[in-house]
């Protein structure tokens, strides 16, 4: 195999040096060469490897014209494919553990938002991001059904994306929102403060519960208080000259701005909301508000000790995958 690839690459290099261009038209292989460059020997060689050259050029064309937003975490399987919108940092990897636990028969595509690749511009409206994703999905898989998923602040984008696809006649059997934040969380200052405080208290309590003695808990609590006392009220993002980090920071702030200005409107399809645990209902993330636009939304709860911040990661990913399987049981083929 190695020898074959090397020879093929030498052949390509040889053609490039001679300024010979080769392209595919349908099932035909065409060639343009400076007069006299195409010797009979070279012509025979190219004709002898016609199939190989066509396959290579088709692969290359497909790679060059693919949909950059579609990141295949698991592209095989017979179940309805999941297209998932990540949280505000846009990392497609956040679904890796969940995808693994959903198994080899569940196609799973993470959606990469514009701006994540460091060269495109991030979008500042949820509706625009959803429209972009809808275009990419339909180009990649022209016909449904699609399951649309969203995590954390990616929930509203997923919700909007499902509406767009449905409006265009595509089958969307389910919108699966994992620990979704309702935009209200960031639109109302009091709610945001409550949400932040709730998360901090949960995190402190969880850490303290792991400590063995009352003294150790007291010391930990003291250290957290001191940390908090020295934190500025408004956290500024550090200035960076690193282009990757700079584009990441821009994506984050633009995504949060989009999230804040979005107002969900009614959707008639099936919506399943997976919350890390029952306590999340009191978190300030306003999960119940989704019922104002999706009255039949179903709620599923993870185990009590599920960590809200990392509900899609190990060790909670298996439990969340199990919840998803239960919820979508009736959709199975």
């Amino acid at each position: 195999m190695q020898a074959q690839v090397t020879q093929f690459s030498e052949l390509l290099a040889d053609l490039a040096v001679k300024d010979i261009k080769v392209w595919v038209e349908g099932d035909r292989l065409r060639c343009s060469a400076p007069a006299g460059a195409m010797t009979a020997e070279l012509r025979d060689q190219l004709q002898g490897r016609k199939g190989e050259i066509i396959a290579f050029l088709n692969m290359a064309t497909a790679a060059a014209t693919q949909q950059p937003a579609i990141i295949p975490l698991q592209s095989r399987g017979t179940r309805t494919p999941i297209y998932a919108v990540p949280g505000h940092v846009g990392a497609p990897f956040s679904f890796s553990d969940l995808s693994k636990h959903l198994g080899g028969d569940q196609p799973f595509y993470a959606l990469q938002p514009p701006g994540f690749d460091g060269q495109s511009e991030p979008m500042d409206r949820v509706e625009d991001i959803a429209e972009y994703f809808a275009g990419q999905i339909v180009q990649y898989q022209p016909v449904g059904p699609y399951i649309i998923a969203g995590y954390c602040s990616g929930g509203p984008t997923a919700f909007e994306l499902a509406k767009i696809l449905k409006k265009r006649g595509a089958a969307v059997p389910c919108v699966a929102l994992f620990g979704p934040l309702h935009p209200a969380t960031h639109q109302e200052l009091l709610r945001l403060l409550y949400f932040s405080a709730w998360g901090t208290i949960r995190s402190v309590r969880r850490s303290m519960a792991k400590l063995p003695t009352f003294g150790a808990r007291l010391r930990y609590f003291g250290s957290r208080l001191r940390e908090r006392a020295f934190l500025p009220l408004v956290r500024k993002e550090p200035v960076t000259t690193d282009p990757v980090l700079a584009s990441r920071a821009l994506l984050k702030s633009t995504a949060m701005a989009a999230f804040r200005r979005y107002t969900p409107t009614p959707y008639s399809g099936r919506v399943c909301i997976f919350l890390p645990n029952k306590a999340w209902l009191r978190s300030g993330a306003a999960p119940h508000r989704w019922r104002l636009v999706a009255p039949d939304a179903e709620f599923y709860f993870g185990p009590e000790d599920c960590d809200e911040v990392s509900m899609l990661e190990e060790p909670d990913a298996p439990a969340v995958a199990e919840l998803y399987r239960r919820a979508t049981q009736k959709l199975r083929d």
Partner: protein, 658 residues
């Protein structure tokens, strides 16, 4: 905000333990109640044996030997001497000596005086000895501890930290003491010994074992291992390792003989070979690593007929090899137990026909011991669920010397898992285990060997347990090694490295395929290093801190290494090497297997675009993650782009169909 929402599904939690499983795995399994003389001390039991066989040989070192009567008298003298120095119940005496007859005399003397002994290995660094002595002083109200040592070791102890008694030089002062027996000052609820083990913070912690716990263990061990026969036991392993407690006391209460061996400096682990070659003992207690060392010895004429193996995972293949190598029937026991539960609290006798799995089981609880696998909420776990192992019973230590916080952390009183309402004192071992579907307890290594790799929490013990199930892997250790990359935000890539010793050459593909049968992809080590033998601590356990740094030479290539061949492959491999801080990358190496994740992926894509001038996407990397695959895509993209560009030469062209 707190309105009630319809709940469609119940919470997903750990599957509850079914009644039948609860009875089998929690109640019946722990029905271990057995009689032992709980009101007596180890000295009382030794004295009984002195009365029974006063003239039998109790201990031998080369040509020197003592009978039971002589050992009793000599230790009486030692106790009397210590008594004259004010040593009595509640005192703690450090025994810092090489293996010798005198060290056994000293230990018995300390116990008879009613004090507790603290064994310190002769190879212990001065700094650690000082830490232990200071800890003892702090824990006894500033009292200077007594240290018994030998002339050649004396310089390792600072005279400001201990009252030093040099046993060999000052032996005359003992001989002046009365040899007759005085009533032992030891009490069954007094501390017999304190063994200092490594602490996670780097400070050694002393485990206090009472006479009652020691008697419970030795009484059980004597019956299981000696079965009423006086056996010869070799004293060769470190006295500071609680595995040696069996060798020290089991012979002395069963009429057996201790045969003392002293390791040569620098080659301490080789003393085990000396024991075998000397052929003067019937039974041996040792670690699997030590047992592996004697596997290739000629054992045809050995008198050894019993082995007690403990301290680490014990491979069935090793047990099988030993069984085959010895012509007469041998008994091989796997004994499990932390120092905090007095030497051993679980036992399994190896059966060559029945034990077919890769590791010898750790078996069932010893007499008066309880073993529980519990969840974070202290609930018994069901089959196939990983939990932490907790130990209950009469073997539990009093606690950690001078460390009430740590004692409170590790020794908990919780609801008795058997009945769900009474209270039970439990030791939190920090060891992970699970019940198999067949009701067998599987040991999965240390809970504190949990690391985070690529955002996923991973139990190294689970990987090791699986790797050891590969029939040819004899020993292994998996460690997580961080490598700094990029800037502070990215921090480091943590890669799992598997070190192993195997009976035949294994390819990485074989190892990976074996691991992948049961483990998640994120748990499969990135690198594999085959070692001739594992580095061992003085206790004969795998010394993780001495595992060699993985280097380009020592790392077994994931595939047969095929160097990048085309220009694009070479450039791509160099780019990845730079980004992932890896020395060499072959054509078939996978970006994600090498530790590529998160921001590194974005960086890789950005650099590839810049260097190759084509629009490489994240997706390309996910779909074609090896050097060869991605280079082919890049070549293709460049070719397509070139084909669309205007031709370079301005002359006439011809267009043909091929």
């Amino acid at each position: 905000m707190n309105e009630v929402l319809p709940i469609v599904a119940e919470s997903v939690g750990l599957p509850p333990l079914q009644d039948a499983d609860h009875r089998a795995l929690v109640v019946d399994y722990n029905a271990t109640s057995a009689h032992y003389p709980s009101d007596r001390t180890i000295i009382d039991l030794f004295h009984d044996q002195v009365t029974l066989s006063p003239d039998a040989e109790a201990i031998r070192f080369g040509d020197a030997m003592l009978t039971y009567r002589q050992l009793d008298e000599r230790s009486n003298q030692m106790a009397a001497h210590l008594g004259s120095q004010g040593v009595g119940p509640g005192r703690i005496i450090v025994v810092f000596m090489e293996h010798s007859i005198e060290v056994v005399v000293a230990i018995l003397g300390v116990l008879k005086a009613g004090a507790a002994y603290v064994p310190i290995d002769a190879a212990t660094p001065k700094g650690r000895i000082a830490t232990i002595l200071k800890d003892i002083s702090n824990g006894t109200g500033g009292q200077t501890p007594v240290a018994i040592t030998q002339a050649r070791l004396q310089s390792a102890i600072s005279p400001e930290l201990a009252d030093i008694f040099v046993l060999d030089a000052d032996f005359g002062s003992i001989l002046d003491q009365p040899a007759s027996a005085r009533p032992s000052a030891a009490k069954s609820n007094g501390v017999a010994y304190i063994i200092f083990t490594s602490g996670s913070t780097g400070t050694p912690k002393g485990v206090e074992i009472e006479h009652r716990s020691l008697v419970n263990y030795i009484w059980w061990a004597a019956r299981v291992y000696s079965s009423g026969q006086p056996l010869a036991w070799p004293l060769f392993s470190s006295l500071a390792f609680d595995l040696t407690v069996t060798t020290l006391f089991a012979p002395l209460i069963t009429g057996g003989r201790i045969v003392v061996y002293l390791g040569d400096p620098g080659v301490k682990n080789m003393v085990v070979l000396k024991v075998v070659d000397d052929n003067a003992v019937d039974i041996m207690k040792l670690t699997p690593a030590h047992l592996a060392m004697i596997r290739d010895r000629n054992l045809e004429a050995t008198r050894l007929r019993k082995f007690i193996v403990g301290g680490e995972d014990f491979k069935t293949e090793l047990a099988r090899d030993i069984t085959k190598a010895i012509p007469h029937p041998v008994e091989i026991y796997n004994e499990y137990g932390p120092t905090e539960a007095t030497v051993g609290c679980m036992i399994h006798r190896f059966e060559v026909e029945q034990d077919r799995s890769a590791s010898v089981p750790i078996g069932v609880p010893a007499a008066n011991a309880g073993i529980y696998v519990l969840s974070k909420e202290y609930q018994p776990t069901g089959p196939n669920v990983i939990g932490e192992m907790f130990i209950a019973g009469d073997g539990l230590a009093r606690g950690y010397f001078n460390r009430p916080d740590l004692t409170e952390e590790r020794f908990r009183t919780a609801t008795d898992p058997r009945d769900g309402f009474s209270r039970l004192r439990l030791y939190k071992t920090g060891d992970l285990a699970r019940w198999s579907s067949e009701g067998r307890l599987e040991f999965l290594g240390r809970a504190d060997h949990q690391v985070k790799v690529g955002g996923t929490r991973i139990e190294l013990g689970e990987i090791e347990a699986r790797l050891l199930k590969q029939p040819h892997v004899q020993e292994c250790a998996v460690v997580a090694i961080p490598t700094a990359v990029g800037n502070a935000e990215e921090g480091a890539i943590t890669r799992l490295v598997a070190y192993y010793v195997s009976s035949k050459p294994l390819t990485v593909a074989e190892l990976r395929a074996h691991l992948a049968e049961e483990l998640l992809e994120s748990m499969i080590p990135a690198h594999y290093v085959c070692l001739e033998r594992m580095p061992l601590t003085s206790n004969g356990k795998i010394d993780r801190s001495s595992l060699p740094e993985p280097t380009a030479d020592s790392i077994q290539p994931a595939h047969e290494f095929v160097a990048p061949s085309t220009e694009t492959e070479k450039t791509l491999a160099a780019l990845w090497c730079n980004l992932l801080k890896v020395k060499s990358i072959g054509r078939y190496d996978n970006f994600f297997d090498l530790g590529g994740e998160s921001l590194l992926v974005v960086r890789a894509v950005a650099r590839m675009r810049k260097i190759f001038g084509v629009d490489v996407q994240l997706r390309n990397l996910f779909e074609r993650p090896t050097v060869a695959e991605l280079a082919e895509v890049i070549d293709g993209m460049r070719w397509v782009a070139d084909s669309r560009a205007a031709s370079l030469s301005g002359g006439p062209r011809e267009e043909i169909e091929l």
